[in-house]
């Protein structure tokens, strides 16, 4: 892709991703409500929420706390652009991690007990899912001989056939990344949690809105990675991604939150068994 094309694709992605992510968030809430025999909010509710938040006052505990959030947002946008212009998958993952770290630092900066607990738990969760995410990239590389997203997407190999273990493992840790029960320890969309709002406790108004929009970006990126597993057959990719998303919502509504020991242990065991196991198989077959 030429530089001009890259910038165009990046712009389209940066504009479209939050719209898609927000819509998905609305679908999430609607479906969850239906599963709970309720009507649920309108599909566009997340957008209403964000629009309202932008009109609220900004309150801070420490004056510099919001700056970390701005950078969290900036890097999330950057990661989205990076991924959808088909760049290096490892670099995308590192940028995503960097964004997440800024959010954690923001919560530390807020210097409140609840945000502090949220930050510690978030770090535990990041430690939990990081191996599987990296193993996903490694697995894709082993099959397609490239870390470049464009190459993986254009590969004629249907990745799900050779990387089923990694696929399942990745979907497992999507529960962490998308903040779904049973692994929504650090910040949750649900009404209450034992550490109030966790990471986002001390953020108000426009800053909170940015955090929410960043989450939409992240949703788009990780679902994009899910789609990569089926990229060889585009219609299958769409269906599978939708199925995975529905599955995540289902699990969210069925399970209760677990303690961090179980979260960390299960994520690592899954990464080891499914991720490394899959890599072993791929390696020895070649």
């Amino acid at each position: 892709m030429s530089a001009g094309e890259t910038i165009l694709v990046a712009l389209i992605a940066i504009i479209a991703a939050p719209l898609v992510g927000g819509l998905l968030s609305g679908i999430d809430r609607k479906l969850s409500a239906r599963m709970q025999s309720r009507w649920g909010p309108p599909l566009l509710q997340p957008f209403y929420d964000v629009a309202k938040l932008f009109q609220k006052e900004t309150i801070v505990v420490r004056r510099s706390q919001n700056f970390y959030v701005y950078f969290f947002f900036a890097f999330m946008v950057f990661t989205t652009g990076l991924f959808f212009t088909g760049s290096d998958l490892l670099l995308t993952i590192f940028a995503l991690t960097l964004a997440g770290i800024f959010l954690v630092l923001a919560a530390y900066k807020a210097s409140s007990p609840y945000s502090f607990l949220g930050a510690e738990r978030e770090l535990l969760l990041m430690m939990a899912y990081e191996p599987m995410v990296l193993l996903t990239a490694v697995g894709m590389y082993l099959v397609t001989r490239s870390f470049i997203v464009v190459d993986v997407a254009r590969s004629s190999v249907l990745l799900i056939q050779t990387l089923p273990g990694i696929f399942v493992g990745f979907v497992f840790i999507l529960l962490f990344k998308l903040r779904k029960s049973p692994f929504d320890l650090s910040v949750s969309h649900h009404a209450h949690q034992e550490i109030v709002r966790g990471l986002t406790t001390e953020f108000t108004g426009p800053t909170l809105a940015l955090i929410e929009i960043a989450h939409w970006y992240e949703t788009a990126v990780v679902l994009g990675i899910v789609a990569l597993f089926f990229a060889a057959v585009p219609w299958l990719a769409a269906v599978a991604t939708a199925a995975v998303f529905f599955f995540l919502i289902l699990v969210d509504n069925v399970f209760a939150r677990v303690k961090w020991q179980l979260a960390l242990g299960s994520a690592w065991i899954v990464a080891l068994a499914l991720g490394v196991g899959n890599i072993l198989v791929v390696y020895f077959i070649r």
């Binding site: 004056r63 510099s64 590192f94 940028a95 991690t97 960097l98 630092l105 919560a107 409140s112 945000s115």
Partner: protein, 646 residues
């Protein structure tokens, strides 16, 4: 990273050893020796400080001059009377061994004496049996890799020397119970620097071993500097493990003299692999003891009793780098062999276990020590894999780690001096109480694991190297690096978390210390921008000369990383644009705040204070348990390594 494969036009047989002029190399080895002698005989600390600073500048400049674009580079020539030098070195080695033997007897550390005796025995056997038959063509030479190491030692080592002037003054003011042996301290520092240059410039293995053991002795003496019983015990532990390595090294030389007669590094590395496997394994073992790989890590932890400049200089930035330097030198030999895989396995296990252990440490120096061991493990992993990608990644890791770790150690040392504690929990709100220092610590921490800083780039390179050669090793890297994320970020978070505003107080820190700290911080940042240049000028030619191929980071990715760096660089700018219009309110405490973010109304009407302490998770990541597991695993692997080598 796109792989760009080039073939070089050199013969794949004998390497033409190109090196800077011998005079420069000798200067770098000899000058610090002279300075050391001056320092121990000089009178008064003021004079000593001047000498130290002056010498530091000269050494740094000399080292840097080696890598300047127009630096002279020529065929390494033998203009030295080799026979007499060899004999002289042999005598000195025996003297060294005798000294250690004597020390061991004197302090009833008989095992140490035994090791010294054995090593002397091996040296004597070698000299007697093969002294005449085995010759050394080029004892001293420096290729690009050596030059990289020399610059690291020259620049980082000098900065640490400058730092230590101010530090040691305060050290003795605070610790009047320790005898003031600063003349010895500075003497040893410069002897050590000379020995380090000697290691990197030695092509002859016995010469290398001699300098190697000199650094062992310096380390021993410096760890035991303050003369307490505890430090002496730790010093002997370090001596024991390092002597084990030295023994292995001497064994390798004996074996080589007996079998092929190749006792020079450049020729060893280009030998046929099956002939060189045993010495390679022995030398790798030596490197691994020096670099505190499992199961030999406890000596590095013990060495933390030494004053901070010692920890920074010897035990993170330079001496331990000698160990991994040796392993990386052996990379072409280890590539594709089972022994090499075993070496990589040791490195990998060390990286994983050390990173996990670091989570449970609340003593800042111990965190840094375990992190050092982990990163050394990563470099050893690269050496064991031995491909051109791995070698590139390994050298890059060395560069970034040396600079960043030195910065972190010196910062922690300064902090400890000011506050008498090393506990990370005490660093809460450091951004307010000691802003400059906390920013430097944050730069250091960021440099250790954050994109787009150097260590991240290196880890990226390591990942790519692993997947291209032995994907199973990836387990260690992915789990280990997620562990590093945890303990670094929680430290960083502690620094910026402000629960009560206390006045800033950074007084009492010597200017020299600030100079060293700021230079290192600036270097850490600058390296991120400049490493492509370093890579293309120094690392890639070296790798290419060995393998005929290189790897590098593609233009596209470089641009991306520059953008990321630019974005991150904007962050400090934000501290100057404070919106005055935001409303400041206390943290949410369920409405029970009592005029603060940490005090709240308790149940019976009493006011309670909240304390926030990081997770250390000792039950899961406790040092003892993990150390045992890791050590057993590595011991097993070592046996396998020697087994397959034979």
């Amino acid at each position: 990273m796109n792989l760009q494969k080039w073939t070089s036009d050199t013969n794949s047989g004998i390497l033409h050893l190109r090196s800077p002029p011998l005079s420069t190399l000798l200067f770098l080895i000899g000058f610090p020796l002279v300075v050391a002698v001056i320092l121990i005989s000089a009178r008064g600390m003021a004079a000593r400080s001047v000498v130290v600073v002056f010498a530091a500048i000269v050494i740094a400049a000399a080292a840097l001059s080696l890598v300047l674009p127009r630096a002279a580079f020529m065929e390494a020539s033998i203009a030295l009377p080799m026979e007499s030098i060899e004999k002289g070195v042999f005598v000195l080695e025996l003297a060294l061994a005798a000294f250690i033997f004597y020390l061991g007897i004197r302090h009833t550390r008989h095992f140490v004496s035994l090791l010294a005796l054995l090593q002397a025995g091996l040296a004597v056997t070698t000299q007697v049996l093969y002294g005449r038959t085995v010759t050394v063509a080029t004892p001293l030479a420096a290729d690009k890799f050596s030059l990289i190491m020399a610059v690291i030692v020259g620049v980082v080592g000098s900065l640490i020397a400058v730092y230590s002037v101010g530090y040691m003054k305060a050290y003795h003011e605070h610790h009047r119970e320790f005898p003031d042996r600063r003349p010895l301290f500075f003497f040893l520092q410069f002897i050590f620097l000379a020995a380090m240059f000697g290691i990197f410039f030695s092509n002859s293995l016995s010469l290398l071993l001699f300098f190697w053991e000199v650094t062992t002795l310096c380390s021993f003496l410096l760890i035991g500097y303050n003369g307490s019983t505890e430090s002496r015990a730790k010093a002997y532990l370090a001596l024991t493990y390092n002597l084990l390595g030295g023994l292995s090294f001497a064994g390798a030389i004996l074996y080589l003299s007996a079998t092929t007669g190749v006792v020079e590094m450049d020729r060893l590395v280009s030998m046929q692999r099956d002939l060189a496997l045993i010495p390679a394994a022995l030398l790798a073992f030596a490197g691994m003891t020096k670099s505190a790989q499992l199961p030999f890590s406890s000596w590095l932890l013990g060495a933390m009793v030494a004053p901070t400049p010692v920890s920074a200089l010897l035990h993170s930035s330079t001496m331990v780098k000698a160990g991994v330097y040796l392993v990386l030198r052996l990379a072409p030999l280890l590539r594709g062999t089972l022994a090499g895989t075993m070496v990589a396995l040791i490195g990998g296990i060390t990286f994983l276990v050390a990173s996990l252990i670091a989570i449970s440490q609340s003593d800042a120096k111990r965190v840094l020590a375990w992190s050092t061991i982990a990163n050394l493990g990563l470099i050893v992993l690269c050496g064991g894999i031995g491909t051109y990608e791995a070698l590139w990644a390994g050298i890059l890791l060395i560069i970034f780690h040396a600079v960043t770790k030195a910065l972190l150690f010196l910062c922690v040392g300064t902090y400890e001096q000011k506050t008498n504690t090393r506990d990370i929990e005490s660093m809460t709100g450091l951004i307010v109480t000691m802003p400059k220092l906390s920013i430097m610590i944050q730069v250091g921490i960021a440099g250790m694991f954050l994109a787009p800083f150097g260590m991240l780039v290196s880890k990226w390179a390591v990942l790519r190297a692993i997947v291209d050669s032995n994907p199973l090793l990836v387990v260690f890297v992915v789990f280990g690096s997620s562990a590093t994320l945890f303990f670094w970020v929680k430290w960083m978070g502690k620094l910026i978390q402000v629960t009560e505003v206390r006045p800033a107080d950074e007084k009492g820190i010597a200017t020299r210390q600030w100079i060293a700290l700021s230079t290192l911080a600036a270097l850490t940042i600058a390296l991120v921008g400049f490493y492509p240049v370093i890579s293309s000028q120094l690392i890639e030619p070296y790798v290419r000369s060995l393998y005929g191929m290189v790897t590098t980071i593609s233009q596209g990715n470089l641009i991306i990383m520059s953008i990321m760096l630019g974005l991150v660089a904007l962050f400090p700018v934000t501290f100057f644009i404070y919106r005055r219009k935001v409303r400041v309110v206390d943290a949410y405490l369920g409405g029970g705040n009592v005029d603060s973010s940490t005090r709240f109304q308790g149940a019976a009407g009493e006011v309670k204070t909240m304390e926030m302490r990081n997770y250390y998770l000792e039950k899961i990541f406790g040092e003892r348990r993990l150390l045992v597991i890791g050590s057993i695993a590595c011991v097993a692997v070592i046996f396998v390594m020697f087994g397959v080598a034979l």
